[in-house]
């Protein structure tokens, strides 16, 4: 934060153009009223506020923007998009930035990505999510003790968390449904690697 940014040399117009193209949003219309920040439910977890990220995109400060924690902490609730006076889908810009960062291997908040992978792993195996599985995998990945341990007794008592994975029943579809989902994930992964981006 406490540094002078040499805008003239850091400026990357191609980055701005790429964000505009991928998100379909015209960021030049942003006049920095800050309404997105004012309504953001994740703002206090951000290192840069969403309006500041929009400013960074306008200026083409690629590293400043893609290395923020904020793009990982966005809840995708699209309150910002709804209230933007310039009709910018700010949430779409945030999602675009997250995709760009991921594809370049910039993961400033690994635990969030680890959670997503844990989630997607259970989907890949069972075709559906399975909370205990997701949590177990997440704990393994993040090397954290289950953060919601205090909830476990209550949750288990109320049978909120299934102990048995609820995979897609085999009799439901001729071809094993879980495997079909697995194939989707597999093809996605192969294609991403083929195209040289991080899956």
């Amino acid at each position: 934060m406490n540094k002078v940014t040499d805008i003239s040399s850091l400026r990357d117009p191609a980055f701005t153009a790429a964000v505009q193209a991928d998100s379909g949003q015209d960021v030049t219309t942003c006049y920095q009223c800050g309404n997105c920040t004012a309504g953001c439910p994740a703002s206090f977890a951000y290192d840069r506020q969403v309006s500041q990220i929009m400013r960074g995109v306008q200026l083409g400060l690629k590293d400043e923007v893609l290395n923020t924690r904020s793009i990982w902490m966005c809840l995708s609730c699209s309150t910002c998009s709804l209230r933007c006076p310039n009709n910018i889908d700010v949430a779409a810009v945030m999602e675009t930035l997250r995709h760009m960062a991921r594809k370049e291997g910039r993961v400033t908040v690994p635990k969030v990505e680890k959670f997503w992978f844990s989630f997607l792993d259970t989907v890949r195996v069972f075709g559906r999510t399975y909370e205990i599985g997701t949590m177990a995998l997440y704990m393994l990945r993040s090397l954290r003790i289950f953060t919601d341990l205090d909830l476990a007794p209550e949750a288990l008592k109320k049978r909120k968390l299934g102990l048995i994975p609820h995979a897609i029943p085999r009799q439901d579809v001729p071809d094993d449904g879980a495997r079909a989902v697995g194939r989707i994930m597999q093809r996605y992964r192969q294609r991403a690697l083929r195209e040289g981006v991080r899956p």
Partner: protein, 653 residues
Amino acid sequence: MRIGVFICHCGSNIGGTVDCARVAELSRAFPDVVYADDPMYTCAEPGQAAIEAAIHEHRLDGVVVASCTPRMHEPTFRRTVERAGLNRYMFEMANIREHVSWIGKDKEANTNKAAELVLMAVEKLRRNTPLTPKSFDITKKVLIIGGGVAGIQAALDCADGGVPVVLVEREATIGGKMAKLDKTFPTVDCSACILGPKMVDVAQHPNITLYAYAEVEDISGYVGNFSVKIRKKAAYVDWSKCTGCGACTEKCPARKTPDAFNELTGPTTAINIAFPQAIPKKAVINAAHCRQLSKGKCGVCAKVCPTGAIRYDMEDEIVTEEVGSIVAATGYDLMDWTVYSEYGGGKYPDVITSLQYERLLSASGPTGGHILRPSDGREPKSVVFIQCVGSRDKSVGRPYCSGFCCMYTAKQAVLTKDHIPDSQSWVFYMDIRAPGKMYDEFTRRAVEEYGTEYIRGRVSAIYPDGKGQYVVMGVDTLLGQPVEIKADLVVLAVGIEASKGASQLAEKLRISYDQYGFFMESHVKLKPVETNTAGVFLAGVCQGAKDIPASVAQGSAAAAKVLALFARDKLESDPQIAQVDMRRCVNCGKCIRCCPFGAIKEVEMRGEGKAQVIETVCQGCGLCTATCPQGAIQLSHATDNQILAEVNALCQC
């Protein structure tokens, strides 16, 4: 013919993307062109002198200037050729700036296009004939539509200039929005005190006829001779008898009638006089809430009226006025801010508009000048002002700046502190726009002397906290953080829009309006008071956002335009009108049927019926020319042959 062509460089405006010398060179090969040049600034004094010199030297009998839009300088150059002895209609323009140099960067294409436009102008000019205007009498009386401060100023200036004025006001009293204000910026002087005397002057001026509670129904005619139908709405009170004593309003039992003058901040009675200084000070019955008129039971006001002025059977009345000029001064309305659901959309009683706040501040308002919360009548200690609610906001279709909100918000913050010394005002703003005389200093005073906290950022949402206050979720972009403020009262600086019915009035006036309903001036810089319809002028916010001094100035400017118009005894009619070739006319009457102005009549000629154009009525639209299969009626200066010549210049396979 001997035609001279002048290709203007307009500095680099045209010369930058059009090879003007090349266009001049190409022009020399066009039919009848004997002279072509490419001056730097054709409209400047040396440029005009060069045209005059060329006319004499080369014995020109027609001139083409290729430069900016004819809507700008056609009259200028017509005068130029006239000074050199040509008929002013032996002149044509090619628009190579707005339609060529400013919209394309390809110099080759632009140069070619410019040359073609010149060729079209030459071909048209070759078929021009000298035209002479006719003169006609004018009615030296002006109609002013709207009795806000701009209309009042225009009316008083015209009337002082000796011109009879017809002032039409939609509401029951003149005064407009300014009459609702408590104080005005940057002097914080009393609005009613400075406007009141002017309103009285209107009432007393012998040259002013005031139609309050009336609307313009229809307008026909043209500059110098308009005929205006005015609908006097039924007030259910005979104003010739009403003395404004107020006995009726004291006794009226319908005490929950919405009070439009007070911006619905409090109730009033069904029979009502808007405010103590109303002009005219006459009572009007709100028919929807009057028990007699809606249910047929009551009649109290008729019983108590000492002069017997109540007329329950009154109907709207149409009066006709003949005038020579019209000033539109219809002002503005606040946009419907309830589209902002995130601010409660009108659900929260203590989230109000700035105009409602004015009424709370005003001594003649519903709280007698005490700032009290509409919900519980408590005095607010924390007041949040939000700027740009419905201004500079594309998402609600209002991308423009409403101009004066920054200033009145500063004023209201100052007044809040005056009224409630232990209060704190907060202003959420995006930019402070204070370019007027003493304006910026005033906003600084609000901060420095009155402790108003300005927070740069918009407000995302307002919600009640369940404990009697409101949570204002905003941002301080300078701090780079979202902020929350607990407020007792929230005042929204609601953006303005053209007043209701402005576009319909524009259609009656045949003037243009922009997509938001504001009337279009003739030229944004050089003709800010004129419209494209001769004799119709603009004053005040109907033309675009402006504050009181600017509205007053434009009111006076419009009056000056009217007085200048009426300084002549006769007007010249545009000679570019339709003419009938009697030999061709078969009297089928198609032109008579179509003409929007009733400018064609049937006359008897050697025992046969023929169409004839009434020269001073014809406006030159040419609809008749396009209608007549016989080609018997031709619009001078836009004849079939002239347009065909332009088409042929472009399209010869």
